[in-house]
Symmetry: C2
């Protein structure tokens, strides 16, 4: 897939991945609606296989590899959900997945990658070392790199989440998706354009990793320097393929503080009985912190994933509240 | 409702409560299936209104009161989910709910009752004081008592959960429901008898509150003396209306230790991304601890509720693990 996916591409991709993915449910909560002052529809990607939307894109990329490439396996560097997603997608196709992970990745995510049969190589938690280690692994194995987001195959796969949501809930006024590398947001923008033309799409981003916010405003790619957010899935920066789609199609990028992310996460856990990771809570935090934008609107929210370490929840750590 | 509900009663009750309750989804997990060695279907009552199945029975009891009784309001003593359920059901009918709660009830449950408009009177955490306080409240208000479980209207309401499950997943080999006072288990037994004749129904009970296990074996009601289980919804004993249904219809009562309850709870949280309270995890714990009984079987599990205090989760408390 060499150019920005079109409507027909996304429809085709949905058929390709359908046998492997879960059609995730849409949850609602009158309690959360009345707190937010709007009508919210939560697309529950924490119930997706591997516990995150990332399995959609990874499955598409792996299942459409040609036979010769597939035989050498796939490889990526990822601190989390993309790693699990690629490992399971590869296992579903019967090929190897080589995963480069920073030593600082949450234990629960490392164990999950191993459980899906991924072959893990650890590296330093810096982008240069991640890339260097990945190059070494690829040189040794010949594996094909599957980038977590800066790849049209991935973007088209992630687009399927919003496309499903629009089938279940037609005519949404707004959609809010978290933005890290931008795979989910750019895919959501494409599905909105093709399948729900009047829906405004917002990206939701931690202030501590606000590269999308900066890039969107200055109309050029400005990578994040140091992302200290609790939303570990959103520490990455936009790529050259995700940024142009977002620059053209997003209604806005909305930033939220760390304490607001934790509050939104607790609200989803307590009132909706849904386990979501901090990155997934960023979208609801954006609605809560910018409620004028959404007042009275039918608004979709993509809950991006639910992989958390139960032994280390943010509200157990006074540091997170102390900062604000 | 003066006698054990029949098939026609349960069908009628379902129509009465349908406008008020949620039709809760059934979740599955291939990861949990392979750990347990059987095929599990989880009926998700944590997504029921008020976060627990109790809303089914309370709604039925409140909505079928005659106009004269209803005007005086309803009353109960409850440490938790029945209190919330009765408060919301009463609000839905536009009448008052008087709730007697022990001072030791979890804060999150007290706040929820208040949020649903329930009028709370606190008492000592002993059965005699709960009953005495309730009598005083009823003497003052004339409110009708709605017992949490020992009432055929309640039993018929709780029966609707299993009836829905059998519609969604016909032909289950087994069903496991937690047992405290026995409202959910006796209702599940009735629905199984009428709508899924070949399904064996098991009660799952904490060893620390094993009155149902004792009563079932000795064929007479033996109330629990001191129930120190973490599964706070299951500390009560069977009643004169629930026990005979269970004695006749249960395949067995299965007991589990506290550590097994916590392990099962973490498994549901981590692998299924579902928030369930300890009482709900008891049913999965029973499957894990008695796996020979369920090997290869299509087994339904009723996840009874999801009301937990996120600031006070069992795995954060070393005492719970230290005991075993």
């Amino acid at each position: 897939m060499e150019q920005i996916p079109g409507a027909a591409d996304i429809i085709r991709v949905r058929k390709i991945i359908e046998p492997y993915i879960r059609r995730t449910p849409v949850h609602t909560s009158s309690a959360v609606d009345s707190i937010c002052g709007c009508q919210l529809f939560f697309k529950c990607e924490q119930f997706q296989k591997v516990g995150a939307f990332k399995f959609r894109g990874a499955t598409h990329a792996v299942m459409t590899l040609n036979e010769r490439d597939a035989r050498k396996g796939v490889a990526t560097h990822s601190s989390g959900n993309h790693a699990q997603a690629l490992a399971l997608a590869a296992r579903n196709r019967g090929i190897e997945a080589h995963i480069v992970m920073p030593q600082t990745a949450p234990k629960i995510k490392v164990e999950a990658v191993a459980a899906y049969g991924g072959k893990i190589t650890f590296c330093q938690p810096t982008l240069p070392d991640r890339e260097a280690t990945l190059l070494k692994v690829r040189a040794k194995t010949g594996a094909v790199e599957i980038h977590p987001y800066n790849d049209y195959r991935i973007i088209a796969g992630q687009a399927s989440a919003a496309a499903e949501l629009y089938e279940d809930e037609p005519g949404l006024d707004c959609l809010v998706a978290p933005v890290g590398g931008g795979g989910l947001l750019s895919g959501s923008i494409l599905s909105s354009k093709f399948f729900s033309g009047k829906t405004k799409v917002y990206g939701a981003e931690p202030e501590q990793a606000n590269d999308a916010w900066k890039s969107f405003r200055q109309k050029k790619l400005i990578p994040v320097e140091k992302a200290l957010t609790i939303a570990d899935g959103l520490r990455t920066s936009l790529g050259c393929r995700t940024f142009p789609i977002i620059a053209e199609g997003a209604a806005d990028i909305l930033c939220v503080e760390e304490a607001a992310i934790i509050r939104a996460m607790m609200l989803i856990w307590e009132r909706m009985k849904l386990i979501v990771e901090p990155s997934a809570a960023v979208a609801l935090a954006a609605v809560l912190e910018h409620r004028d934008l959404f007042a009275g609107k039918r608004t979709g929210i993509i809950l991006s994933g639910g992989n958390v370490d139960l032994m280390n929840l943010p509200w157990m750590d006074p540091q997170h509240f102390g900062k604000h």
